[in-house]
């Protein structure tokens, strides 16, 4: 049984923003998989504004080298979208692993980002693609780097009158990219560790390396120093090993030593060695 609230179905982004601005104690409902769970556990709101019927909030478009993902787009839609699969493969992969098929039909990208679980699968790939979120309110619009938007576990910079209307990511063509996560069963499981990557390496030289690691640090992060180290270097074992060492060092620098690192760090190490080293099955 959920606590009582008044339900409003918004028919447009404007309407939703207007309601959000004028009502006190209102929460936004996207897919419902996060909000309703929290309300089951006691979280209360006077109003629930349903964004589910706002068609303009959902969809994937490509413009120039940028992909625009509507905040109301479901994970299932993102996972199967041909443009996403072509230019943002790690994100398609990650979204295909969120929850179960039913959850992927319900939960939205925007909802997931605003919830900002440290284990959210979409974050690492979005970081790899230099994601920028757009937040709209009655006062206008602002954009923010995803890295800044996710401020901490379950914490974002979103204002109480804002809606995350879209995420823009860099479309990458010709990169080798992917997403792996560790979980306790093959599907429908919380990721305990995740790694996203997109690499460009021509003729044995790294030209662009992007890595993001999730669930090792308070928020998923990109090990920039390791990325910078690799750029322009040859794709050889000692180079790769050094870069991986740098990633692990950075994780330890950010998080200190944690009991879970006994298994997490070897996995990060081995996954990255395999991915960066160019093994066939990564």
């Amino acid at each position: 049984m959920l606590p009582q609230f008044s339900y409003l179905a918004a028919r447009s982004t404007q309407e939703a923003l207007s309601s959000l601005a004028s009502l006190t104690g209102a929460a936004l409902l996207a897919g419902g998989t996060d909000l309703l769970m929290r309300m089951r556990k006691g979280e209360t709101h006077r109003y629930v504004i349903d964004l589910g019927g706002v068609a303009e909030l959902a969809g994937v478009t490509e413009e120039g080298g940028t992909l625009r993902l509507g905040g109301g787009t479901t994970h299932g839609r993102i996972a199967s979208d041909p443009i996403v699969r072509r230019t943002c493969g790690s994100l398609a992969s990650a979204c295909s692993l969120v929850g179960s098929p039913q959850i992927r039909n319900m939960g939205t990208l925007g909802g997931n980002l605003v919830n900002a679980s440290p284990a959210a699968d979409s974050i690492a790939p979005l970081l790899v693609h230099n994601a920028v979120v757009t937040l709209e309110s009655m006062d206008g619009e602002r954009v923010e780097q995803l890295e800044r938007f996710i401020a901490g576990p379950y914490r974002t910079t979103i204002g109480s009158r804002e809606i995350l209307t879209s995420v823009k990511v860099e479309a990458l063509g010709g990169y080798h990219e992917g997403y792996r996560r560790i979980a306790r069963r093959a599907g429908w499981a919380i990721s305990r560790l995740s790694v996203a990557w997109a690499l460009a390496a021509g003729e044995g030289i790294f030209t662009d390396v992007r890595i993001a690691v999730g669930s090792c640090t308070p928020v998923p992060f990109r090990p920039r120093s390791a990325e910078a180290f690799l750029e322009g270097k040859g794709r050889e074992r000692p180079v790769v090993e050094e870069a991986v060492r740098m990633v692990l060092d950075e994780i330890r620098r950010i998080s200190g030593m944690r009991p879970s690192f006994a298994y997490k760090l070897p996995v990060v190490r081995d996954l990255l060695l395999s991915v960066l080293g160019g093994d066939a099955c990564s």
Partner: protein
């Protein structure tokens, strides 16, 4: 005709239509709802209870405590030690204290949440290895079973290799998809009627009779369509509360547990610590097995005695070992109540004995299949309890069925591994009477009716019993009606547990059917006379009812040595599992399972395959992902059972070494389906990675940790 036929399940139609009446779906006009107030402390005195908050909630009618119980406040499958409602003290988190009855679920649960309880906390015993401090009705040791055969020290002296390790398992939840639920009401005669999700009915009636100090004839228990049991619906769950509520308020009352409540309150698979020492000769013959099993049974007995004994009896696995020494001890604690769960301790022992055997085989340079064939029990073998297997011992045949695949195994890639897991399992209760009655009637219009108390919990007993009936009578499906799960119309068939219904109720059904067959034969049915005619001609002489009865011949075991005959028959099985372990992550994918089972006679092979596949899934869960952590595990978000994506290809092979005392030679498969699976996964992991697993679950992080440790040791 019907034996060995893949008859469509008789209960499947309603289930695919969505019309099956599960306990969750029962509704009655004006029904109330009862919610349970449960202890939040592991061990405490109930210093003060304030129910005024509950009564202040609109719609709350009554708060019931132990004082309202007219009869006995304790129940239990084996000892009457578990309170329905706590009186002065609570001994585990989740222990029921009060029930709050409201006009509807919302009111009742709100009322329950508003009850204020003052707990005087007492030191909780949470470590079974620290006995002596806990004080329960039972004392701090629930049970200690011993098994002594031959001279185990002499056996070790004769051995060329000795392997000793300790294996650990943890609490596991049944995780049936339908939580505990039921409805209770008083009928026109004022009798109390309970319909619930249950694995037994006559037992529940007996407990309600004690609770209400009411004769059993004034109580009726009916099994609703039950969404899974696996041992978790053998104990009284909602039935006692419903009966008490109806008794007090004289109105229909409904209950259902939330999933969180089910995880919190239901009995668990016993966590066991198994110290296992195996001795073998260079030629691979096992000379000695010494096992010390200790476990945490929680504060109340439930089925602990049965688990304690089964663990000792099956400790060697399906092997002929001349010298055996086993001690099995369950300690009481203030942890979760552990009780019956599919296999009663044997899945945990199989993990141990199969791991041991593979290690012995490796040390001796003997193939794992060969060492099993060499030592495997067969006709004429003497078991660890000194029982001579005179019939139906098809274990070696199960090994042979898997053999071609075993010999042909090829590691496809790095991280591939193959493992064997074997088991034997005594069908029915251990060394004690566990009879079943079955009534077969020639009823109105010439319809043949099977009245059985054997509860269908998804395992397929309805269909199997009908197949046995139809075969014995030589009739068509349409001639026969099934009346199942009503204490008013059936006699006690015993619980649907211990994989016993096909064997025990099946035999009882056959006996009853033979009685009717003789009558029909004499009346000319097999010469063309119709059932309707025969019924008309005979009905004035009284009900044409035949009572079939069967109690497996199992005299029992000696207290001090565990020697004797604990079971009339055993199931045997071999599982071969192929895994792929990803070195970088520790992720273990189960690719293929070959499962060979000696079932005596496969009454419904398709149904048996279903049970085996379900057992494989549960075994994969036990091996790789399931662990109930008291205080942390809340629901399915924090307790993972396998999904379709965790399942391998499964090939099933049935061996039919007919059991002379069973119906058409049949034994049982419900628990055997699960028992060897986790063991074979663990052995496959060892083959794939060189890593020995001594603790379950071997989840991804644990396996990666073990692999990493091994890597660094090199």
């Amino acid at each position: 005709m019907f034996i060995g036929k893949d008859l469509d399940r008789v209960d499947a139609l309603a289930k695919v239509l969505g019309t099956a009446g599960f306990a969750h779906d029962l509704r009655m006009e004006g029904m109330l709802f009862a919610a349970v107030v449960r202890s939040t402390k592991p061990h405490a005195l109930l210093a003060g209870i304030d129910v005024s908050g509950a009564y202040a909630v609109p719609g709350v009618l009554r708060v019931v405590s132990y004082r309202d119980i007219p009869g006995e406040n304790t129940y239990g499958a084996m000892r009457k030690d578990q309170p329905f409602l706590a009186s002065k003290r609570v001994r585990h988190v989740g222990e029921p204290i009060l029930i709050v009855i409201g006009e509807n679920e919302a009111a009742a649960r709100k009322g329950a949440a508003r009850v204020r309880i003052d707990y005087g906390e007492i030191d909780a015993v949470l470590d079974p290895a620290a006995p002596g401090k806990g004080q329960t009705l039972i004392g701090n040791i629930l049970a200690c079973k011993k098994l002594r055969k031959g001279d185990v020290e002499k056996g070790f002296a004769e051995s060329d290799v000795v392997v000793a390790h300790t294996y650990r398992t943890t609490w596991i939840d049944h995780a049936f998809l339908e939580t505990e639920a039921g409805i209770g009401y008083a009928d026109e005669d004022g009798r109390i009627v309970i319909r619930s999700s249950t694995q037994n009915i006559h037992y529940k009636r007996a407990e309600i009779s004690r609770l209400l100090a009411m004769p059993e004839e004034r109580i009726r228990v009916i099994q609703a369509t039950t969404g899974g049991g696996f041992g978790g619906k053998l104990d009284v769950t909602v039935e006692g509360f419903l009966a008490l509520a109806v008794y007090l308020l004289k109105r229909p009352v409904f209950m259902r547990y939330t999933r969180e409540e089910s995880f919190l309150s239901n009995t668990k698979r016993h966590p066991l610590s198994i110290e296992y020492k195996t001795g073998a000769r260079a030629d691979g013959v096992l000379t000695a097995v010494k096992v010390n099993i200790t476990g945490d049974t929680g504060p109340y007995a439930s089925y602990g005695d049965a688990v304690c004994l089964r663990a000792a009896v099956h400790a060697t696995g399906p092997y002929d070992v001349a010298n055996v020494w086993a001690d099995s001890t369950l300690f009481t604690t203030n942890g979760p109540v552990s009780g019956a769960m599919r296999g009663f301790g044997v899945p945990q022992l199989a993990f141990a004995h199969e791991s041991q055997l593979d290690e012995v085989a490796a040390l001796l340079g003997i193939d794992p299949l060969d060492i099993r064939i060499k030592n495997g029990l067969r006709r004429g073998s003497i078991t660890a309890t000194g029982q001579v297997l005179s019939a139906s011992a098809g274990f070696v045949e199960t090994l042979k069925r898997v053999e071609p695949y075993w010999r042909a195994r090829k590691k496809q890639k790095k991280g591939s591994g193959f493992g064997l897991g074997c088991m034997y399992y005594g069908i029915g209760n251990t060394g004690m009477a566990n009879p079943a009655h079955a009534l077969v009637e020639l009823g109105e219009g010439g319809r043949v009716i099977l009245h059985t108390g054997a509860c269908e919990i998804g395992q397929g007993s309805d269909t199997v019993l009908l197949q046995i009936l139809l075969e014995t009578l030589g009739m068509a499906r349409s001639d026969v009606l099934l009346d199942r799960g009503d204490t008013d119309t059936s006699k006690d068939a015993g619980s649907s547990s211990a994989s016993r219904q096909t064997y025990v109720s099946g035999k009882a059904v056959q006996e009853a059917a033979l009685g009717l067959r003789a009558l029909l034969d004499k009346a000319g049915y097999y010469k063309g006379r119709t059932l309707g005619d025969i019924y008309c001609a005979m009905k004035d002489g009284g009900r044409l009812l035949f009572d079939g009865f069967f109690d497996p011949p199992a005299p029992g075991l000696d207290e001090a040595t565990g020697q004797g005959v604990p079971y009339a028959t055993y199931a045997f099985a071999t599982h071969m599992t192929e895994v792929e372990v990803e070195e970088s992550t520790g992720a273990c994918r189960v690719k293929h399972v070959y499962a060979a089972h000696d079932v005596g006679k496969g009454i419904n092979p398709k149904g048996i395959k279903g049970q085996i596949c379900g057992g494989v899934a549960m075994g994969i869960g036990l091996a790789l992902m399931e662990e109930f952590i008291p205080g942390k595990t809340a629901s399915f978000d924090t307790y993972y059972i396998p999904t379709s994506m965790d399942m391998p290809r499964v090939d099933v092979f049935l061996v039919e070494d007919e059991e002379p005392t069973g119906p058409f030679g049949a034994k049982g498969v419900g628990e055997p389906a699960l028992i060897p699976q986790a063991a074979s996964v663990v052995n496959a992991i060892r083959d794939a990675t060189g890593v020995a697993v001594y603790e379950l679950p071997c989840h991804v992080e644990r396996l990666k940790g073990l692999m990493e440790k091994k890597r660094m040791a090199r």
